[in-house]
Assembly symmetry: C2
Homo-oligomer: 346 residues x 2
């Protein structure tokens, strides 16, 4: 039943055919403890007795979060899944089951729908995640992909609210690569002729098909000394601000210590842009941001490197005064950095 | 971070303020076993050890599922929650936790956002459901509200695939009221001057603020003799077709036996419309559709009436030949009925 007129264009794909296509694509993934997946009113799932259930939803919208000129349907599906995997990773959990709400302009193109689901499946499968349900609708205004991801944690998840004064602030990997990829896509190849193609490929791929730090989150989320943790999706400035607010503390970050991505530096050089701003405020690097006891830093860094090959870098510390995040330059003077992204703002 | 330009209009409400508003509204509801709700990357929830987890997502889209000329933000929120509650009810489960992905044109109006969440909360609270997470985005094309609802079942959910030849087919309550409400909204009051205002209010309310049969689902989902069950959201013809397909059976329905809603009959009379078509194909009544052993029908009907006050009506039977759903008129002749709604079709 619809409260509006049906779309006037002819449709190559009805809902039943679409669900069959989605089911076929989604079922290529394996799912742990799925009693009933796509094909009934609800998925029926078997949680681990005693484990905590983690649940997160992230929505990506055409011309807000992605442009179809740059992102293929596969890319869009991949990213919609990856941003949710990253939220579960940020809590140190094991992602398990995904549900997908999808709105597309009619008529839907079966090849595009299949590529979208294949992108989601390929992002999810290495982590053992299955697509177990969802909903589809006509969209009067572009693509909307909302993924809800369920996961488990067999211990106590590290929350945004766990930071304590004196904690070290640390991030995994490097920062600024996704923003460099976006800037490269916006600039076009002609303006980047001096940059090696392989490097451009690396940064644009980081933007279009980000990798969630699931193994890193599992390691850090179970390690001694970690107090607060989250994924760094809206940029360090915004996300560390969330930790400060929820923990009623402040933070100081030394810009000199930020692990600015080397490829991002090179792209910034070619474009006359500032890689440091990408690192503080670009967002979408999907690294993990954590606070931990000073005494645990060396063990965490060595352990994470051994377990996953990923670097951990201390960039600042937590302070008792709840005055938000202060960035300091090489001389120790406070500097203003661009804020991260806020939706629904002007 | 956004891949597109920010909205150009001034914004009264940034993301942080919006999340604060949502948190305030959502937290008016009580939540069972919620360790961490809105305000972190993921909700942290405590499932009942040994119970099955049920998960469903339903998306409602402006000008596809509702028109803002008829539906208030409160109505939209209410319905987005109710359609998901109905899915959990259809499996006989206890709904528990909701996540909400919301896209709205910028700038978002705080009063509208609050009314939307208040509608969701008011639909959810009587069932003990809490809103525990979500995401918000700017929308370039109208309102999109996607709700994911999690629930539990401490036994074995009754699936679409459970129907057996010889089963009776039964529905709760009456059919056609929601379609009558939609027709009344489309026609306007002037064409319905002969219909009592209270009756118009009843049918339009059934369309705009449907009630999910949660208690009925809990009763029937635990009762002996029930084989297959689902909520009747896309119309009897479509939904019974789903049961036939998943169970590899057919079904015969006698049109004479359908519990056509009396108010729907009166609205149909005033509009020169066909209430029987609304009952077979209108959809959105959110009654429960089930198949059960013939010998259990009397006990189920009496038990449901005692437990919930709701009627159960046998409308047909399941047949071994997987030939879809056949509707029979008073003379026992097959008749063609309109199909229910399919999204993404022409």
């Amino acid at each position: 039943m619809t409260a509006a007129d049906p779309p006037s264009r002819s449709a190559p794909l009805g809902e039943l055919e679409l669900i069959r296509l989605i089911r076929r694509t989604a079922e290529r993934g394996s799912g742990e403890r799925v009693e009933t997946g796509i094909g009934d009113d609800t998925a029926v799932l078997l949680p681990l007795p005693g484990a905590r259930l983690l649940a997160t939803t992230d929505l990506i919208v055409e011309d807000v979060h992605f442009r179809r000129a740059w992102a293929s349907p596969f890319d869009i599906g991949w990213k919609a899944m990856a941003v949710n995997l990253s939220d579960i990773a940020g809590k140190g959990g094991q992602p398990l089951w995904a549900l997908v709400a999808l709105a597309l302009p009619a008529p839907a193109d079966p090849a595009e729908v299949e590529a979208l689901y294949e992108g989601m499946r390929r992002a999810a499968a290495p982590h053992g995640v299955a697509i177990v349900g969802g909903d589809t609708s006509t969209s009067p205004g572009g693509w909307f992909v909302s993924v809800t991801l369920l996961g488990e944690h067999d211990g106590k998840p590290r929350l945004r609210s766990g930071a304590a004064p004196g904690d070290a602030v640390a991030v995994t990997g490097t920062l600024g690569r996704s923003a460099a990829g976006l800037a490269a896509l916006e600039a076009g190849r002609a303006r980047l002729a001096a940059v090696r193609p392989a490097m451009l490929e690396t940064v644009t791929r980081a933007h279009l098909r980000p990798t969630a730090r699931v193994a890193e989150g599992r390691y850090l989320g179970a390690a001694a000394g970690v107090h607060a943790m989250m994924d760094c999706s809206d940029g360090l400035a915004t996300d560390l601000g969330h930790i400060c607010r929820e923990s009623h503390v402040g933070a100081r970050v030394e810009l000199d210590r930020l692990p600015v991505d080397p490829d991002a530096r090179e792209v910034a050089g070619a474009l006359g842009a500032d890689a440091l701003t990408w690192a503080t405020s670009g967002g979408e690097d999907f690294e993990l941001l954590l606070t931990c006891e000073r005494a645990s830093v060396d063990a965490l860094r060595d352990g994470l490197r051994r377990a996953t090959g990923t670097a951990l870098t201390v960039v600042g510390e937590i302070e008792a005064v709840a005055a938000g995040v202060t960035f300091l330059d090489a001389a120790g003077e406070p500097v203003t950095v661009a804020p991260g992204y806020e939706h629904l703002s002007g």
